[in-house]
Symmetry: C2
Amino acid sequence: MAANISEETLKVSYEQLTDLEKEFEENEVEIIRHQVALNKPLYEKREKILSQLPGFWPLVLEQAPPDVDQYIQPSDSAVLLSSLKNLTVSHFEIENGGKGDPRSIAIRLEFNENDYFEDTVLEKKFWHRRAKSGWTGLVSEPVPIKWKKPSKDLTQGLLDLVVKVWEEDQKRGEGKAPITKPKDYTSAQKELKKKIETVGMGGVSFFGWFGFRGFPISEEESKVATAKDQENRRLRAEGKAVPEEDDEEDEDEDEDDDPYGLEIFPDGDELAIAISEDLWSNAIKYFTSAQEQGDMSDIDFEDGMDEDDEDEEEEEEAEANGGNEPPAKKRKA
Amino acid sequence: MAANISEETLKVSYEQLTDLEKEFEENEVEIIRHQVALNKPLYEKREKILSQLPGFWPLVLEQAPPDVDQYIQPSDSAVLLSSLKNLTVSHFEIENGGKGDPRSIAIRLEFNENDYFEDTVLEKKFWHRRAKSGWTGLVSEPVPIKWKKPSKDLTQGLLDLVVKVWEEDQKRGEGKAPITKPKDYTSAQKELKKKIETVGMGGVSFFGWFGFRGFPISEEESKVATAKDQENRRLRAEGKAVPEEDDEEDEDEDEDDDPYGLEIFPDGDELAIAISEDLWSNAIKYFTSAQEQGDMSDIDFEDGMDEDDEDEEEEEEAEANGGNEPPAKKRKA
């Protein structure tokens, strides 16, 4: 049926599709910008109501969808269920009239006094960046946690080491890329690598997520790559030739390179997206479904969550998950 | 920690959350409206490019995500892969300046001449409705298919029977609800019920989807329910009493009632949403991922899809699915 289409026509069609996909992405960014602005007053209203319901976030976490729940180890649950006071997501690059990327997000967890760490607030920021290779996604910086004792460190020292390596990278200077070749590793990097291999086997704590870095893409690299990508699309749309990539860039891609080799929480970006787009946005649905299905009395909430309640609620949660529809799917029109 | 909160405060907070959730939903509807308008020119551009790539939709279908793929039986694949020419989704209630619900969708499949049915276009419409019970979602009407021979009927007579029952319902008169109590079934309904029990066991054809009806909610019921819901929310927001439900409505809910008893494709609404929000919106991603991972040559496309190619592509698809990331998740800010 397509016998008369030349290879050249097909090649052009493929390129057009790839470029079109980027136009869709640009629209999507505008939609998110619009959506964030539109929903802002509602999220503020929600936070006000939630201040009346101190058990809200622990209950939502118990109902967490698999894309969040899979990262919460039993030892994490103990802290999160007893101490998580509030959870908020902000699109910090577009707040207060900012013109940045609405896909950049900050996730802020507030805690009550607990046995594990001194911090009452842990906030992790994710920047949406474009690499010169074409990769786009979220990158982050490690957030230290002040554990009360080494034995209370749920990451078993992983997070502290990531922070140490991060600080070394910062001292090495602004423009400099981090060391990503195992043969050039510093002693802290070697220690981290070894710890990842031993601790990683048993399943890394949810709190290891605060150590996620992602690909090392600077703001500058992202700006240059975005501008170049837009320019190339413009040229193709006008039917003009697109300049070849510099050889220099290929040389950069050394086989020894292992930019993800010291990542303690490789799915950190995925988890951030799951928290922002599902857990946080659908929190009322998860809470309501727990209420309806688990048939919990108001009294459970009044009492807060002591250890006996937790056991009961875990059973109720299992029932609720069995008989209940998950919150409505995300849509894209 | 919440010991001082009264039950009354908690009750009010829960109600406020439920009402707030509806405000989020209203925003979401506005966002979809905005998104559909913004993306319209891009989808038109995409359709123009796709006319150069006749193998596009069959290939996308081969890469279909599980929430679509699970409904495609091997016998359906033969028709879809050889004959599907085009697939489009429209938000028909807001087209040409319409002020309807942007969540109502029409899914249109265009086919080449094939051995199974006479139709070259099959279009199925889904209306977003609210029931007086509070349920909201998509409802539809059966779409008949002109099978070339009874032996070519992939639904084994199910679709024809659903259409017959539907026509009976229409003749019974506009305002009347369909018969939903098994003891009152007409002979066509009894025949349908029996066929569902026998054919359903082996897995219903994708084409059975054209028979999906969903809950019987008229446009009128939906309008009344929506207005009432808004009024009740307004009253609660102003701290006023909300009138009790009429007893009459409870009487309507007869235990004999089985509104889904004659549904030949119970997940029809889910499949519509999966096609619209995933397969259709992410079609370029599925296509590109097939291209990149399967390493298919342009030649395969030039030749169209004959039977030998299909086998090869099925193998390539398996590789592609194994090594490839799924398209980016949907987001909700």
